[in-house]
Structure formats: C-alpha cells, structure tokens
C-alpha cells in the first residue's frame, strides 16, 4: 500500500480540523502520513493528535523561518518528506488543503516533483491502484474526475471529506530543510480577521441566505443578515450586490466568487444571471423571492415567491421564529 502524505495545518499547538479531513481522505488511498512544518518544538504538541487522526508517520520540519516566509517552508518540507518517505516505500499522493496557501504550496511542489496537480477535490478514491479525484467544474455545473500520471499532488476542499482515519502510531521522522535555498517573500506582519465570526463559513454552511440588487441599499442588506441569523445561516451575495457595495467582496457567490452547495439556499432580490446560478445551483433546496416574475432564478427554484421581499421576509422571519419557539 502506497504512502499518502498530508500537509498538517496547525494553530498554537492544535491541529486544524482540515488536517483530520485530509488524513481521512488519505486513509481511503493508502497509508496516511503527516508532514508538520513549524517553529522549533512545535511538533511535540501535535504528535498525539496526529496519532488519533490516523498518521502512521509524522515527518517533522522545524525551522525558525516557518512563519516568516511565504509558502516556501511548506514546499521544501513536503519535497524533503517525499524523498524520506520513498526510502521506505512508494508515495502515491500528497494531499494539501485547498486554501490559498495550500493551493500555491501544491502548485510549487508539483513543479519540483514533476507530478500532476489536481485542484480542489471534493472526493478521492483508489480505483485499480490509481488515485482518482472528483471535482466540481464551472461552478458546480459539471462533475469531473481526474487522475495523475504516477504521483498525484491533490488539493482537497475543506469540509468536503467526512469520516475519520483509524488511529495510528504517528512515528516521528525528523527532516531538515534549508529555507535559504529558495528565494521567498518575507512575512512582515499578520493581521487576523477581526470581525466576530458568529456566522458559519459560507462554503461549509448548511443554510445560505443571499441578497442581490433587489435589496436596494447597504442599509437594507441587513434584512439578509437578519433572516440568515434566524436559520443560523451564512450570508452570501450576488455580484451585482457586491459591485453596488451592499456587502463585502468575500461574500460573493457565483462564477467569479464562492461556490456553495448548502441544504437550503434562499435568494433575496437576485435576478439569477448565469454568473450567480453557477455558484449555487447544486444547493439541495432553492428558495427565490423576487418582485420580478421574469427573474431567471425562478427556473431553478424549488419554492419561488413573486412579491416584495420587504413584506415577505419579515413575515417569514416571524413565522419561522414562531415554529422554532413552539
């Protein structure tokens, strides 16, 4: 059975949730192993957690530059870990979180290893000994399955993989990297997002409430947030609403924004250009409220209301609250 290397992500001594997901994905393909990049001493706190999450081996690259250089420490560590792992057997895949930094790390690693890059997988499986990854393309309009020639470098979308790898021994293997060997940008300051995140992440939420141009103003957009909070939902927006500055850019759902696939998607005042539809059409249930009966989004609605959202939505909020309190 081939080894599957996973880039572990961790924050202040705790594994990030996505690392467990990556190890669970790895267990579907072969023998999971983790690669830890961190400041000197960082791995000690992680070994037990990695054992519980199913890592058979843990390749540890500790360097004082781990958090001071952009992307390159992880690239060098994965490269060194693949070399070390090959001494003990075949490596068939490297799995990395499909975050911005993760995708860039995977891209560079694929160049270093001359290995096929597969991006943003929502599922992985082993078919006849070959790693097959499943992706959504063009905003979820297509399901695509891809393979790589020999070693596959795969980025995996967070929240896409469920399940857990069986616990393993997490045998520590220290590896050395020379961060000076690769030109890199220096990280001179880090500013964590300060906004209180009491709403779920847009890509992971089971309910998404989105607003469009029909809201009319930034002030009125708070109605979208109010409805979202009734459902414990994430807040999204159409490109038109973002361009009209009703809300922040990162909330944009669509071909040039985020793709979502929640259990329930409620669209308020969104006409439903292809641009938007492509980002939400894989939602299980779609509700559309728009005063224009000709809005194209009604074509994909499971339940549509032609009406004024400023009267329908408050009534909906009241009715949902009444049921929740009953």
């Amino acid at each position: 059975m081939g080894q599957i290397l996973v880039l572990a992500e961790h924050t202040q001594g705790t594994l990030d949730r996505v690392t467990g997901e990556l190890l669970a994905a790895a267990a579907l393909l072969g023998e999971p192993a983790a690669v830890v990049v961190g400041l000197p001493g960082a791995a000690d706190a992680l070994l037990e957690q990695l054992a519980e999450s199913g890592a058979h081996r843990v390749y540890v690259a500790e360097t004082a530059d781990a958090e001071a250089l952009l992307v390159t420490p992880a690239v060098l560590a994965l490269d060194a870990a693949v070399t070390a792992a090959r001494a003990t057997g075949e490596v068939t895949a490297v799995l990395v979180n499909a975050s911005i930094a993760g995708r860039e790390t995977a891209a560079r690693l694929s160049v270093r290893l001359t290995a096929g890059l597969i991006n943003d997988a929502v599922g992985v499986e082993l078919i006849d000994g070959v790693v097959v990854a499943t992706m959504q393309a063009l905003g979820g309009a297509y399901i695509v399955q891809s393979t790589a020639v020999e070693l596959a470098v795969v980025t995996v979308r967070p929240h896409a993989i469920s399940g857990q790898a069986p616990a393993a021994s997490a045998e520590r293997v220290d590896i050395t990297i020379d961060t000076a060997a690769l030109p890199a940008a220096a990280i001179t300051a880090v500013h964590a997002e300060v906004v209180a995140r009491d709403r779920p992440d847009l890509t992971a939420a089971s309910v998404v409430v989105s607003g469009g141009r029909g809201l009319g103003s930034r002030e009125n957009f708070s109605l979208v947030e109010e409805l979202a909070d009734v459902f414990g939902a994430a807040v999204g927006a159409s490109r038109a609403a973002v361009e009209a500055d009703y809300c922040a850019h990162h909330m944009q759902v669509g071909q040039t924004g985020v793709t979502v696939a929640p259990q329930l998607y409620i669209a308020l005042g969104i006409s439903g250009a292809i641009q938007h539809r492509a980002g939400m059409q894989s939602a299980k249930t779609i509700v559309v409220i728009n005063k224009d009966a000709g809005a194209p989004l009604f074509e994909v609605a499971d339940f549509g209301i032609v009406g004024d959202l400023f009267t329908v939505v408050p009534q909906l909020i009241e009715a949902v609250r009444a049921r929740q309190n009953a």
Binding site: V71, A184, L264, V312
Partner: protein, 258 residues
C-alpha cells in the same frame, strides 16, 4: 523597471459555459473575452510604470485569437506583447503551461511578473506560484495592494482568515486580487498606437521545449470523465397574496428545513 503581465482569454462568465468530454472548457461555444482580473493586472503594471518608468510587456499563451487579449493590453498602454502560440500546446495542464510561460519569460529581461490570482475558467490559481518556482523568484501572491520602492516590492496579501504584509527584493512574481484598480478603457489613440507596437510570436521550438513535453497527450494530470449536473426539476412559484411568507415557512417545515 521591466514588467511582464500575464493576460488570458477566457469564455465570458456572463454566458452559459460548458465543458467538453475531455474536460476542457468549450471555447467555441461562448464568446472569448479578456479575463477581467488580468486587465486589472495590466492596470497595476501601467500605474507602476507611471511611477517608476520602464516598460510593460503583455504575455499570453493561447490560440491565434488570443491575440485580441494582447491587443487590448497594448491599447491600454502596454509597450510590447509576446504571444506563445503553437497547436501542440492545446490541452496542456498547469504544469506544462507554466513551463511554456517560464520559457517565454526567460526570453526577456524582467524585474516584475504580474498575474491575476486565478482565471475564471480554470480557477486553480497555480500558475503564479509555479512560475515563481520555475524561475526561482520570490512569490508575493493574492495581493490586494502593491507598492514598489528601492528595488523592493511589498503588498498586502489577502487570504481566507485575514491579511499578511509581505515583501521581497526584485525580481519577483506577484498576483493581484479583484481589489486591484479598475482597468482603464483603451481610447482611440491607444487603439491606433497598439497596431504599431511590437508583437512577438513564440512557438514551442522557439521556447526550446520538445513537442512531446507539451499538450494534452503528455499532460501530468488527466481528466478521466466529465458528467454534467442533472437539470433541476421545476418547483412551485407563487405570487404573494399577503401570506407568502407563512406559506414558505410551511414549505420549509414540510421539507424539515426548520
């Protein structure tokens, strides 16, 4: 400062795009446009040139008609264009595309390579990072703002959970987000001037690559199959008679969504 901007022609995201059975975007079905993010990259380059002098070259890889994306960059104010064009490149994956673009970048003197973060069709965001790796240059990607002074490029990197301040000495590879400045519209004078600006066409042989290294048949990642998502069944649409909000709550309760 010599700047090279990567531009890309993509199918219009405002139209209904489709995938062919081999997993490639059907580029004949939808009108091609210059990817907006790459126009912002051109704008960023032009503003840096206005501040620091030097030249701006636009570079693309694509079929003959991709020349339109280069002409637009020239009309906006770029000084020269490079078109990597060869039938054998069709179907290249990111690994092969980055090899061809890196080879093209090696044919010119460059202090700063500017790209968009990711194209609207492929959306892998891999190319800028791959170019940094191939050219052994520092990578400063996903920048929402960028400044250059005294041979140092710095900017704000905008990621999922916050921002990072990053910096590196030139030469470097950067990519810019949709927060970069709005692209200027080419004026008539710019469009006329573009026709006289140098346009270099480079083939696979010019780049020193082997035909067997590029193109879909030699790619390192392969599409095994493509399935369109099934069309949705039609639902219920009602006109508000004063009780629509309550009816919707009933529907959601029936579907066990509340």
């Amino acid at each position: 400062m010599n700047i090279v901007v990567l531009v890309k022609q993509v199918p219009d995201t405002w139209a209904d795009r489709s995938l062919r059975a081999d997993g490639r975007v059907d580029r004949d079905a939808v009108a091609p446009v210059t990817d907006e993010i790459t126009e912002r990259a051109v704008e960023t380059a032009l503003q840096l040139k206005e501040l620091h002098g030097g030249s701006v070259t636009v570079l693309t890889m694509g079929p003959a008609r991709a020349v339109d994306a280069l002409r637009k960059g020239l009309a906006m104010g770029a000084d020269a264009a490079i078109h990597v064009s060869d039938e054998s490149l069709a179907g290249s994956d990111a690994l092969q595309t980055s090899a061809a673009l890196a080879a093209a970048l090696r044919t010119v003197e460059v202090d700063l390579v500017i790209a968009g973060t990711e194209s609207t069709d492929g959306r892998t965001g891999a190319i800028p990072a791959m170019l940094a790796e191939r050219l052994a240059l520092p990578q400063l990607t996903f920048l929402s703002s960028v400044t250059v002074s005294d041979g140092v490029v710095s900017g704000i990197r905008s990621v999922e959970n916050g921002t990072l301040e990053v910096r590196a000495g030139l030469p470097a590879v950067i990519s810019i987000t949709e927060q970069a400045p709005e692209p200027r519209f080419p004026n008539f004078k710019g469009i006329m001037a573009a026709k006289k600006k140098p346009m270099t066409v480079l083939t696979v042989a010019d780049l020193g690559l082997e035909v067997g290294e590029v193109g879909g048949d030699a790619s390192w990642s392969r599409v095994a199959n493509v399935t369109p998502r099934p069309a949705r069944a039609a639902g219920t649409v009602i006109t508000d008679d004063g009780t629509a909000g309550a009816q919707l709550a009933d529907f959601l309760a029936g579907a066990q969504l509340i």
